[in-house]
């Protein structure tokens, strides 16, 4: 068993690497010039070039992948010459980057040709003063300095040649003189828990992702709680009445539910409950972050839609498994020896019949994620699915990668859990 788990974990790790590389390459090929999407179609080529440089997109793709995976402060440290460390921003709690110069956390900025140094105080504020003469001269006689700027980049300033850079602010692009010539956006890398900054929102991915994950977990969790008992009951009823009208009815209905795409089910439910009967809200508009807890009615239609699709699938699995078990010799023996019918069903049949559906449900999570994307898009529900959809359409590499890693981990973990559950339920199976 231990060997099985270790092998699964190694395989999961390889899977994650393959998926992340594939995604990185696809988005690299596909998203085109991402700066057009961020800055808008009316931005000038200079503005785009400047912004590309600020995002570090001029680096080759393999370097950016390594940055994304294991971080890049080791690369920047070689240039800066000091240890680069993170300290939390007192307002947001998000990590900010500083150079550790003899125990002082320092950033620099270039103002009117003079290099200023910003020393971080205990409370998170900074004190500015003129920086010491730190310019290094290269062979060409150019004086330059690598330091950390106030936007978490390792940057290269050249003395007397403050570049004109375009800075994206809330009010739009602003041109600034005295800018750096080269940027390395500092990051810790995914394996150290930093998923990078979302290109779409300009905030760290982790900050924007978790509320969405929570919303989706609530949606999927409630749907799961509704689906499971109903599916098992209907599946068992259909299974023990194989061929009778009630079985035909349940089978045909569940086939219809499975074969109807989520968006069709969702729209019909909106039509019936949202428009004709006006019982339930037709869209899930979040007026606050905790809207689903304040007004659970918002959840009703999304959950119902997910349920309709999943229910049919699980019913069909349970029914098939139940039919198979009911035809087996040991059930016949139990009935022939005079055991009450309901006891045969409850004690002997159901236990064995539930094995297949339980493991299949575990394998089904992947598919559920696809359903969640559609359901969240229909109802405007701010969850993980809509996050992935928006990020993929935008070409937001960091966000897509983080969300995809999460879904892959969920899919793989549930698969391993399914395998383990199967060994528990069916002692005849052993994993070497």
């Amino acid at each position: 068993m231990a060997r099985f788990i270790i092998r699964s974990l190694v395989s999961t790790f390889i899977t994650l690497i393959i998926v992340s590389v594939a995604l990185f390459l696809l988005l690299e090929v596909g998203s085109g010039d991402i700066t057009v999407k961020i800055l808008g179609v009316f931005s000038t080529p200079e503005q785009r070039a400047s912004y590309r440089n600020q995002l570090g997109l001029d680096d080759p793709v393999y370097l950016r992948y390594i940055d994304w995976l294991i971080g890049n402060e080791w690369r920047a440290e070689r240039q800066v010459g000091f240890d680069l460390v993170t300290a939390p921003n007192p307002q947001t709690g998000e990590d900010t980057w500083w150079a550790d110069v003899d125990g002082q956390l320092i950033r620099w900025s270039l103002e009117e040709g003079e290099l200023m140094k910003l020393v971080r105080q205990e409370d998170g504020s900074t004190v500015a003063s003129l920086a010491d003469a730190v310019w290094t001269t290269d062979e060409g006689g150019q004086e330059s300095f690598w330091g950390v700027d106030d936007k978490n980049n390792a940057v290269k300033w050249v003395r007397g040649e403050g570049a004109e850079v375009w800075v994206l602010t809330k009010a739009g692009l602003r041109k600034e003189g005295d800018g750096p010539q080269d940027y390395i956006p500092l990051r810790k890398g995914l394996i150290r828990g930093d998923a990078g900054k979302s290109l779409q929102y300009g905030r760290p991915v982790s900050v924007t992702l978790w509320p969405r994950v929570r919303n989706t977990l609530v949606l999927a969790g409630v749907a799961f709680l509704v689906v499971m008992p109903l599916a098992l009951i209907f599946g068992i009823i259909a299974g023990i009445n194989e061929g009778k009208p009630i079985d035909r009815f349940i089978s045909v209905t569940s086939l219809g539910a499975t074969a109807t795409p989520e968006f069709v089910t969702g729209i019909f439910l909106i039509l019936i409950f949202g428009i004709w009967l006006q019982w339930l809200p037709a869209v899930a508009i979040f007026t606050s972050a905790d809207a689903i807890f304040e007004n659970p009615a918002l959840l009703a239609l999304p959950v119902l839609t997910l349920t309709a699709v999943e229910l049919g699938y699980v019913i069909r699995m349970t029914r098939a498994s139940m039919v198979e078990v009911m035809g087996s010799p040991y059930i016949r023996t139990a009935i022939l020896k005079g055991m009450p019918y309901w006891r045969v069903v409850a004690r002997h049949a159901v236990r064995n019949a539930l094995m297949a559906p339980i493991t299949i449900i575990m394998l089904h999570v992947n598919w559920l994620i696809g359903g969640v994307v559609v359901v969240e898009t229909i109802f405007g529900y701010p969850g993980l699915g809509k996050y992935i959809f928006d990020a993929a359409i935008f070409g937001d590499v960091n966000a897509v990668e983080a969300a995809a890693m999460l879904t892959v981990i969920i899919a793989v973990l549930t698969r391993i859990l399914g395998d383990l559950a199967y060994t528990f339920l069916n002692p005849r199976i052993r994993y070497a």
Partner: protein
Amino acid sequence: MAVAQPTAGAVPSQAPSRWAKMWKSLSIIFESRIATVGMVLVLFWVILGLISLVWTPYPPNASEFTQNLPPNTTNWLGTDHLGRDILSRLMVGTQVILLKTRLPWGGLVFPIGVAIWGVIGSVLVGAFLGLNAGYRGGWWDQVTMQFLDALIAFPVIVLYLVVIAALGQGDLVVILAITVTGAPGVARLVRSLALDIKTRDYIRAAETRGESPWYVMFVEILPNARGPLIVDSMLRVGYAIFAIGTLGFLGIGLPPPDPDWGNMVNEARKNIFSNQWAVVWPSVAIASLVIGLNLFADGLREELTRYQK
């Protein structure tokens, strides 16, 4: 059947003719009521699509009528938000799924639709990978399965979104997306079948004759795995139509000008308060075609496995 009559002549007819054989394998469909119902549903759409190649009630893309009309005698299924006849658009909508693929070069059109090419692609790729993994075993198996595990763990919808975001909208891109997402499942199925079939005596015989591994895989194993593979492909065509509908609904499916069912639903849902019919018809179309394929595959599987028990 009249066509089943072998032509009288020099050929001695000890073996049943080709037509008779085909009829025999087709007649299995009619043994099962479920499969027959499924086939009728599928044929209904295929025939409607074939008719639409030569005739539709009105031009599918022309705004000729008042907008958002309910069903009436002129427009049997009503009109959409641009005043286009929904029946014509529904009929033409079958073409891109089942009957034709539009190539990006010079408006060329290729026969057989996107959903079916996608499944053919995933069966070809999946069979190749699965046969190699199952028959050769060892490293082939390890590496292939690891690769397929990665693909299976990949959330399908993310794969679709990213592939389409990367390569742009187009019929060929959708085919590629369906191929990539379908191939792992086919490969797993073929691998398990190959593992079973390769223990048979006729494989041993072929190996002893000195046949190459490729011959054994594609001539000896693959034809013997065709039963489950065909049933699986039927189901996959259903999934593919499902996926195309979903992509169309999300607005990133098959490109215009040809109407796409999923996209029709997506556009009509914006006017759902004033006109419910425009949403209902394409939804029913997708659901009925997918249900038809599901029933067909289920019935076929039941008939095929009946004698194996």
